[in-house]
């Protein structure tokens, strides 16, 4: 098994350059780079939208925009951040790292991989086009329903809803293709000796993510298709006059929507133990326990969806079931947190930027998880539901737990991808600015929510003024400090101190055996794992 080679067409020996290279590429690293770049751009597009929201909320009253536009910004911000920033970022790392980590020549289905990426720019266009069309007097802008598309509002809405429905369709096809590719790669492309229980945690995280995507994205596609036919072809799926039910949409949507949370988080949970063991210079604690916990979370995530709409009304036994099953998710998560902390315990730790982000991540994501436990309580949820408390909660899970984890991974693997070291000083500055301004943005929102400020409303009572002002100022600092991140990445890609193959003293795994940056075709000879 030591002479595995990769064959290519002759013309591939000199691959095309310029735009044609990127349009036609079947190389997993090129495609990974495109995913990551796309995610970074959309992160700023979605971020700019929410800064518009925060500017409007700087003081009570309507200052900058009408409520309709405010609602549109909120919905598109969420769709972009979830589908066009966080998911592509995770998929980009999957493309880059899974073949390197399992010792494969490339992803298993390279052309499909290319298609998966090129579906993203059209869907980003579909999401943002309604804003532009509205400027020319066509339609009334993007969807104003929030990212959840709840009927009947979404059935009454204008063409913005249709655009979002088709954007979701294209993003869904992209995710399903990506998942097929990852599942096939993991099952068929591992190097000899790389058994399933030797796979790096990131690969495990993505494998379970891919299963979740395969099970749930088509359900979302079905749900928004029913919405489309309800809007234009007279079906009554979500209309009680015809025997349907608007709440049925909530069930269908959140059957996808709750696993989606773990789709966003599981890849990041895979980064964490690997970064921790590198910078603690000792093997991770409880590998098996973490793998089983990943499975536990993955399985539980598809049976807890109704906790997103406790207040919509359902029978008491259903409330109890969804409350207890939701709380049960905290058990595997507690196992993971224990393993992560124990990995650091008595290690010879050093705090380079990836480690700073990871330790910060553990604390902040911990807060996100614990506030989720509070929300899972049916009785308490009646108070928290639809308030700023939930906004703060899911930003602790998805910004701290998602984006900051992605940033940790970026700093961790950037030297491997580019062949250069990034500026450690700027990286640390970026971490501290991000962590502090993030907390200053969202801690006030916990208080606002507890005091009763509803979400998705452009105006508020005077009593909320101070906290909103703090939150807005901090949000702008948070947004602007991300420019440091871009600057650091761009300068690192262009040059700087050469990175060694190992990069980090304590780094383990197959990706660190290749030079930095890795050759165009990763493992032309598959390594043997002992």
């Amino acid at each position: 098994m030591s002479t595995i080679t990769v064959v290519h067409h002759e013309e591939h020996a000199e691959h095309p350059t310029g735009i044609i290279r990127w349009l036609t590429t079947t190389n997993h690293k090129d495609i990974g780079t495109m995913y990551l770049t796309f995610a970074l751009i959309m992160f700023f597009v979605g971020g700019a939208m929410i800064l518009g929201i925060r500017a409007e909320l700087f003081k009570p009253g309507l200052q900058l925009m009408n409520p309709e536009f405010f609602n549109q910004l909120i919905g598109v911000h969420a769709l972009i951040m979830i589908f066009a920033a966080l998911m592509p970022a995770a998929t980009g790392f999957a493309n880059w790292m899974i073949p390197l980590q399992i010792g494969a020549p490339d992803m298993a289905l390279p052309r499909l991989n290319n298609w998966g990426f090129w579906l993203l720019p059209p869907s980003a266009i579909l999401l943002t086009l309604p804003f532009t069309l509205a400027l020319f007097g066509i339609g009334d802008g993007a969807l104003a329903t929030g990212w959840t598309f709840y009927p009947p509002l979404s059935i009454q809405g204008g063409i913005g809803v249709d655009f979002a429905i088709f954007a979701v369709h294209l993003l869904g096809i992209s995710s399903v293709l990506g998942s097929i590719n990852i599942i096939v790669t993991v099952f068929n492309m591992r190097a000899p000796g790389m058994t399933l229980m030797k796979m790096p945690m990131f690969v495990w995280g993505w494998l379970i993510t891919a299963f979740l995507l395969i099970a749930t994205i088509p359900v979302l596609a079905g749900a928004v298709t029913m919405l489309l036919t309800d809007r234009h072809f007279g079906t009554h799926f979500f209309d009680a006059a015809g025997g349907g039910d608007p709440i049925m949409f909530q069930h269908l949507f959140w059957f996808f929507g709750h696993p989606e949370v773990y789709i966003l988080l599981l890849p990041v949970w895979g980064f964490i133990p690997q970064i921790l063991e590198t910078f603690s210079r000792k093997p991770m604690y409880g590998y098996k326990a973490q793998v089983y916990s990943f499975w536990g979370v993955g399985v539980l995530s598809v049976v807890v969806w109704a906790h997103h709409f406790f207040t919509s009304g359902m029978p008491v036994p259903a409330l109890l079931y969804f409350m207890y099953s939701t709380m049960a998710i905290s058990l595997p998560l507690a196992v993971m947190f224990f393993c992560w902390i124990k990995t650091m315990w008595k290690g010879s730790m050093s705090f380079e930027t990836p480690m700073l982000f990871t330790v910060g991540w553990i604390i902040l994501f911990g807060i996100g998880g614990l506030t989720g436990l509070v929300l899972a309580d049916v009785a308490a949820d009646a108070q928290y539901h639809n308030s700023y408390f939930i906004v703060a909660h899911f930003h602790y899970t998805l910004f701290a737990g998602g984006i900051m984890g992605i940033m940790a991974g970026t700093y961790y693997w950037l030297p491997k991808m580019t062949g250069h070291m990034y500026s450690e000083k700027l990286g640390k500055l970026h971490f501290w600015l991000t962590a502090i301004s993030f907390n200053l943005t969202f801690i006030p929102q916990f208080f606002l929510g507890l005091a009763g400020m509803p979400r998705r409303i452009p105006d508020y009572a005077l009593q909320f003024a101070e906290f909103n002002m703090i939150s807005t100022i901090a949000a702008f600092i948070l947004g602007l400090s991300q420019l440091l991140f871009v600057y650091n990445i761009v300068t690192c890609a262009r040059g700087g101190k050469k990175a060694t193959a190992q990069v980090w003293e304590g780094a383990q795994g197959l990706e660190w055996t290749l030079p930095s940056p890795p050759p165009y075709h990763s493992f032309t000879e598959q390594p043997t794992v002992k």
Binding site: I4, N114, N188, R190, P218, A221, D245, M248, H251
Partner: protein, 301 residues
């Protein structure tokens, strides 16, 4: 683990087809939105014509690129680029793809069960003294309290469902026997009996087309004689969406079967190496199983 006799993996050269298909999908989707925009706002009627042309452009781009893409794959296959290792990738990929299709149909079956078990009975549970829909009976099949219009005449609640033991039963027989004929054809392929292979495939294609003809007849009957349409409340919506998406899959499956039949006649497949055949056969069996679910839960029970 990659344990296979062959130790080369084929990474295809770059391809422009995926990016053009994505552009075609963008054109198709936005064209569709423009062409139906007038439903929600009468001011947007002028978008209808450009929308339709965008749909045509998108469809042409997609279909031609799919044609070219599949052509490339077939060329790669017959020139021997795909060996056991690549074959296994395709197999796993096809299984996962079919799983995602199962999840897609599950959404519509889920909607059907939800309406039958929860929403329709619940709508019948209101106090007769206060509900304006006094004629509404919360039984399945239902078009909901709003009722439906059958040939110009308002009929509350109750409607005439599609009978299971007419055309649908014939359709069941057609699809089940097509599952048998494709397996028989597969046996022919494995035994290297080309005659059995081609007759089996041709029979399968014929059964698939017969199914589609019956389905079209049934739809025609529903619309013209029974007044059962997509607008007929919960029953009409779930009936037409479930059978419609299934019929669309049968159509795709039949097209794929025709391609495979032509490839069989050209002798593209060997007893050892015929993933293209098997992938389509798996897809066909999947469509068959979905139909059984439809026959039981949509037509029969």
């Amino acid at each position: 683990m990659a344990t296979h006799s062959n130790n080369q993996y084929y990474v295809p050269h770059g391809s422009i087809y995926p990016a053009i298909i994505a552009a075609g999908l963008l054109s198709l989707a936005s064209g569709f939105i423009f062409s139906v925009a007038t439903d929600k706002s009468k001011d947007l009627a002028y978008l209808q014509t450009p929308g339709k042309w965008m749909m045509v452009l998108g469809a042409v781009l997609i279909l031609s690129m799919v044609f070219k893409w599949m052509g490339t794959v077939i060329t790669e296959s017959v020139t021997g680029q795909f060996k056991a290792w690549e074959d296994k990738s395709f197999r796993i990929g096809m299984i996962v793809f079919i799983c995602s299709e199962v999840a897609f149909f599950a959404a519509f079956f889920g909607a059907l069960f939800y309406m039958r078990v929860f929403s329709v009975p619940e709508l019948g549970g209101y106090d007769l003294d206060i509900t304006p829909y006094k004629d509404f009976l919360a039984t399945w099949p239902s078009s909901g309290p709003g009722g439906m219009t059958v040939s110009g005449e308002f009929k509350p609640g109750k409607l005439q469902p599609m009978a299971a033991w007419g055309l649908p039963a014939i359709n069941t027989a057609l699809l089940l026997s097509s599952g048998a004929t494709i397996t028989w054809a597969h046996w022919g392929l494995i035994k290297n009996n080309r005659k059995q292979l081609i007759i089996g495939m041709a029979l399968t294609v014929a059964l698939g087309i017969a199914f589609l003809v019956c389905q079209a007849t049934e739809y025609h009957e529903a619309y013209t004689e029974m007044g059962l349409t997509l607008r007929s409340g919960a029953y009409g919506a779930s009936f037409f969406m479930l059978t419609g998406f299934h019929g669309f899959h049968v159509m795709l499956g039949t097209i794929m079967l025709i391609v495979i039949l032509l490839r069989c006649m050209k002798g593209h497949f060997t007893p050892e190496h015929h993933f293209g055949f098997e992938g389509v056969a798996w897809y066909w069996h999947f469509v068959d199983v979905v139909w059984l679910g439809l026959f039981i839960f949509v037509y029969w029970l």
